[in-house]
Point group: C2
Chain length 145, copies 2
């Protein structure tokens, strides 16, 4: 038994490592974030976290997300329409394709584009602190001309 207990231990360790106080609510939210393969918004995270720990308020979800973001544990995205959406910082840096029809989010990574961005900034006397690249796309028809 104790998948749940294992998860709790992991989340506790992760929080301590990030220098963040450990509370039931934070463990629940971080657990939800760790399991999520989509990019949920605060409302959705609140819904999922309540299933694990009923006493999680939406306010705490927002507060905790901010804390986790500052601790480098999650990334916040502001895609077109609606509110912010979140994902854990487990994988390497990547950008996003958003399917404009289905809302699906696909991750991709391009060293070439990153390099070009740095070059462009450098030529203008700047250095890139962070960037945002989102491709709003539509699935190509199988036999499109």
């Amino acid at each position: 038994m104790s998948d749940a207990a294992d998860t709790t231990d992991k989340m506790t360790a992760a929080l301590r490592k990030a220098g963040i106080r450990v509370t039931r609510q934070r463990i629940a939210l971080l657990g939800v974030l760790a399991e999520a393969t989509d990019h949920p918004d605060a409302i959705e995270l609140h819904k999922r976290a309540k299933e694990i720990e009923q006493s999680v308020s939406l306010a705490t979800v927002y507060r905790t997300l901010t804390v986790l973001e500052e601790g480098g544990v999650v990334h916040r995205h502001a895609f077109d329409g609606g509110g912010a959406r979140f994902e854990t910082t487990h994988e390497e840096h990547h950008d996003h394709i958003l399917d404009v029809d289905t809302g699906e989010v696909i991750e991709f990574q391009s060293d070439k584009i990153e390099q070009l961005q740095d070059e462009i900034a450098r030529e203008l006397g700047y250095e890139v602190v962070h960037h945002r690249l989102e491709l709003y796309c539509r699935k190509k028809a199988a036999g499109s001309s």
Copy 2:
């Protein structure tokens, strides 16, 4: 005389061309947009438009911006922090560098990046409908290592 009248005529023509009804408020707002070299938000546009035509409400600014966007006359940007910001569609497509210290907006254009975006999307079975590329930058120190 009649810089103002000329502008009005131009804006009237532009509105008619886009199939948009001509009203004093829309002429004023479009005039403000045409003159702007920065990327103002709705509040700022309202402020400027009221100097030309006092009877412009904020609601109408928002409504008109939506209409102009649908008519392809302006572009709406959602940069980090604060509300949407707007610019006219006079120039060619470009992306933006945002100076994180000063808030300044610099425009740039890179065919290479656009090509790479198309390639990446194509390889994943998508085609790009529109994209968003923002480089949040800091000015490089003159003698930085």
